[in-house]
Symmetry: none
C-alpha cells in the first residue's frame, strides 16, 4: 500500500467539459466512490477535468500517493482524439489496433443491426502498453495500465457502460491485485419515520457503538437509509459485531425497517407477494405510472404484477375503473371515495388479490382550499377490504410523486406483514 | 488573468467524506460550474476531498493557475474544528471572533426560537486575514481571502445556503473583481441517429466553425445532445454567430433535432399535441409505465395525456386491450400483430387521437431464437393508421426500457411533424 497508510487508496478522475460547466452531475464518481468503499478501497479524492490534453495530463501526474487511479469518460467515437493519445503520451507508448476490441465493436453493431462507420473502427485502436479489458456494453474500450506500482484504469463515461464493465471486469481484477483491509457497510432501509425522530430514538444505541463502527443517516423521499460501516483486520469480528448491532437496531425500530442494502421497497413487496402467491395491480392518477415503473423496473416482477391503469383523465376513472360519476362530482376527484373505488376497480378489472391506487394534485399548480396543492389520497385494496390515507407532500412535483409511490408501497407492505 | 490565457479561471474544492464514499452526489459543484460558466468564468477543475487537514491543505496548494478558488463544505457546527484552523494555517493567520458573524448567528437562533449552544458561538470565530461575508441563510460564515492574486472563497456545504449566499453576495463581488469574457452555450437535442453517424454528417460543418466556438457530443439513451459553446469579447457577434450556426445545423439534420437546451422529448411531444388539440394514451408492456412516467412528469400534460394501460400480464392484453388470443398464440406476445392491436386497443378504450404501445423482452432473462432478449416492438396509432417498428436495445433492463421509451416518443413526434 502506498505511503505509510494501511489502506488501499484510490483516486477517481472524471473527464468531460460537461462536468465542469454543470451540464452533467458527476454520478459516475459517486457510484464508484460507493462501490470502492464497500470493497475496502479508500477513495481519497475525486477530480473532474475538461476534455483537453493538458487537463488530462495534469490529472494523471502526481498520483504517487494512491494505488489505483480510475478514469471515466473521454472515450466516445467523437471524443477519442484526445484521451487515447494523451494516455499514450503519459505511458510513453503508441496506438495499435486490438483484435478483441475490433471484434467487440463488430458484435455490438451486428446485434443492433446498424452499419459500422470508420469512427467505430478507430475505437478498436488502443495504447500498446495497456491490457485490453472487454466492454460488452458499448463500443468504447476499457484499458488497464501500470506505472510505478500504481494501476490506472480508463473506462467509458456512459454510466450504464461504466457500471457494467466495472462490476463484471474491473472490480475483481483490482481485488486480486491489491490486498485490502476488510471493510463492512450495512445499509438498513427504514420508512415511516423522519430523520430527526429516528436520530433521537437511536441516540443511546449509536453512542454505545464500538469505535471501529460508524453510523450515517441518508434521508430520501420519506425513507431514511442508515449506513453502519467500519474497517477491521479481523473480518470475522467485524461481521459478527455488525450483525449483533443490527439485531439491537431491529429491536428498537421493528416496524420501520423494510430491508437492507439499498433493496427497494418495490422489491420487498414483490418478494412478499411471491411468498404468498398473490398478485397486485395499480390504478394511478397523480403518480402517473411511477408505481408501475418502480415495480416493473425489477426483474421477475411479472410473477406477481399484472398491470396498471394510469387514469390520468377524470372520465377514464369512470369508464375503465368504474368510479361512480356522482362521487367524483360530490367528493371531487381527489377524495377518499374516489381513490377507494379506483383501487377496487383495478383489482376487479385485472383480477388481482391486491391493488394500489393514487389520486392527488402533484403540482406545481392546482389545488383548492379544501384540497390544497400537494394533497394525495392513497388506497390499498386487499382480499379483506380497503384502507386509504390522505397525505400532503408539498408543492414540488417530482418529490410529491416519489413520496406518494413510497407511501403506497409501504401501505401494501404493512398489509402483507399482518397476514 | 492567470498565465498567458485570456479567460478568468476557477477551481472548485468540495470538502466532505460523504462525497468520497458516494453517500452524497456533488450537486453543489455542478450548480457552481453552471453559474460560473454562464457568467463567463471558466471552471478548469472540480476536486472533492475528505474532511482531514492534509486533504484540505493539499487541495489549497498549487492553485497558481487559477484566479478563483471556491470551497464548499467543512463549516458546520460539528465540522468546524478542521476547516477553519486549516485555512488559518494556509493563510498564515489566526482565528478571532467577528462581531458581524456573532450577530448573524444570534439573529438566526432568535428567528428559529432555539437556544444557542457553545458550538454556535464558536462559529463566529473566523481567520483574521479574511473578509467576512454574511450568510443570512445559516450559521456558518462565508470567508473571502486573497493570496498571490488568487481569490479564495470558503462557503457552507448545505446546498441551499451555499446557493443563496453565492447568488446574493459572492457572484457580484467576483464579477467586479475580475473582468470576464462573454460566454454562450446552446444545447441542441437530437434523436434517431447515433453519435458516430451524427459526427460524420456534421464533420464539414464542425470543421468550418469559427475558432471561438466548439462542439461537444453527449449521447444518452438513443439521443445525442450537441453543445455548441464559445467565448468572445464581442457579445453581440458571439450571439449572432451561434444563431447562424444553429440554423446551418438545422438544415443538415432537420429530422433529428427535436428541441433545445435540455428540453425532453416528452415535453416536445406534449407541446405538439397541445398545438394540434389532440390527445394521446399509452399501452405499455415491457416499458411497464415508464412512458406514462415520462409524460406525467411534465406539468400540464393532462391537457393531452389521458392515461395508460400497463398490460404486464398477457391476458390483460386480451381482456382490457382487446388483443386477439389467437394472434398471441400464433405470433407470440412480442410481435407486430400484438403491439399494433395494443395501440389500437388503448386508443379506443381511452378515446384518444393517438396511442403508443410497447411489448418486448426487457431482460435480464428471457428471449427465444425468434425473439431474442432485448427485442422490443413499438407501435404508434394515429388517426390515419398504425405504424410499428422492431428494435433490439441489448440485454440491460433499464437501458432497454429507457431506449424503448425514447423511440416510442420519437415515432409519435415524427407522425405529428408530418401533419
Amino acid at each position: 500500500m502506498k505511503k505509510q497508510d494501511k489502506y488501499v487508496k484510490a483516486k477517481i478522475i472524471s473527464i468531460g467539459d460537461e462536468l465542469l460547466i454543470g451540464q452533467v452531475v458527476n454520478t459516475n464518481a459517486s457510484w464508484l466512490g460507493h462501490i470502492l468503499t464497500v470493497n475496502g478501497i479508500e477513495v481519497i479524492s475525486i477530480i473532474a477535468v475538461g476534455d483537453g490534453e493538458d487537463d488530462i495530463m495534469k490529472a494523471l501526474e502526481s498520483n504517487s500517493d494512491v494505488d489505483i487511479v480510475l478514469m471515466t469518460g473521454g472515450l466516445g467515437p467523437t471524443a477519442d482524439d484526445i484521451t487515447k493519445p494523451t494516455l499514450c503520451k503519459f505511458f510513453n507508448t503508441e496506438l495499435i489496433q486490438n483484435e478483441d476490441a475490433l471484434n467487440n465493436v463488430r458484435e455490438i453493431f451486428k446485434l443492433r443491426g446498424y452499419p459500422m462507420s470508420e469512427r467505430n473502427v478507430q475505437q478498436s485502436f488502443i495504447p500498446k502498453s495497456c491490457t485490453y479489458i472487454p466492454n460488452r456494453f458499448g463500443t468504447a474500450p476499457c484499458m488497464w495500465f501500470e506505472k510505478n506500482a500504481t494501476v490506472y484504469v480508463s473506462m467509458p463515461g456512459v454510466p450504464f457502460e461504466m457500471k457494467s464493465v466495472f462490476e463484471t471486469e474491473i472490480l475483481r481484477r483490482l481485488l486480486s491485485r491489491f490486498k485490502v483491509t476488510p471493510y463492512i457497510s450495512k445499509v438498513v432501509m427504514t420508512v415511516g419515520v423522519g430523520e430527526s425522530f429516528l436520530a433521537d430514538r437511536l441516540k443511546d444505541w449509536e453512542e454505545k457503538l464500538p469505535d471501529f463502527l460508524s453510523l450515517a443517516y441518508l434521508p430520501q423521499y420519506g425513507m431514511v437509509r442508515l449506513r453502519l460501516e467500519g474497517r477491521h483486520e479481523d473480518k470475522e469480528l467485524l461481521h459478527s459485531t455488525v450483525d449483533r448491532e443490527i439485531e439491537k437496531l431491529r429491536a428498537i425500530i421493528p416496524d420501520n425497517i423494510f430491508g437492507f442494502d439499498d433493496m427497494s421497497i418495490a422489491e420487498v413487496v414483490i418478494e412478499m407477494l411471491k411468498k404468498e402467491n398473490k398478485t397486485v395491480s395499480t390504478a394511478e392518477s397523480c403518480t402517473g405510472g411511477a408505481i408501475a415503473r418502480m415495480i416493473t423496473g425489477i426483474p421477475g416482477c411479472s410473477a406477481v404484477y399484472r398491470g396498471s391503469v394510469v387514469s390520468y383523465a377524470t372520465d377514464v376513472k369512470e369508464s375503465v375503473l368504474s368510479v361512480e360519476h356522482q362521487d367524483i362530482v360530490k367528493f371531487s376527484v381527489v377524495s377518499k371515495e374516489v381513490v377507494e373505488q379506483m383501487a377496487k376497480g383495478v383489482k376487479e378489472l385485472l383480477h388481482t388479490d391486491y391493488a394500489l391506487a393514487t389520486t392527488g394534485i402533484a403540482g406545481p399548480d392546482g389545488g383548492t382550499e379544501m384540497t390544497p396543492l400537494g394533497t394525495v389520497w392513497i388506497a390499498v385494496a386487499t382480499p379483506d377490504g380497503i384502507i386509504s390515507q390522505r397525505h400532503n407532500f408539498g408543492k414540488e412535483r417530482d418529490n410529491n410523486i416519489q413520496r406518494a409511490c413510497i407511501v403506497a408501497l409501504e401501505m401494501l407492505r404493512q398489509c402483507l406483514r399482518k397476514k
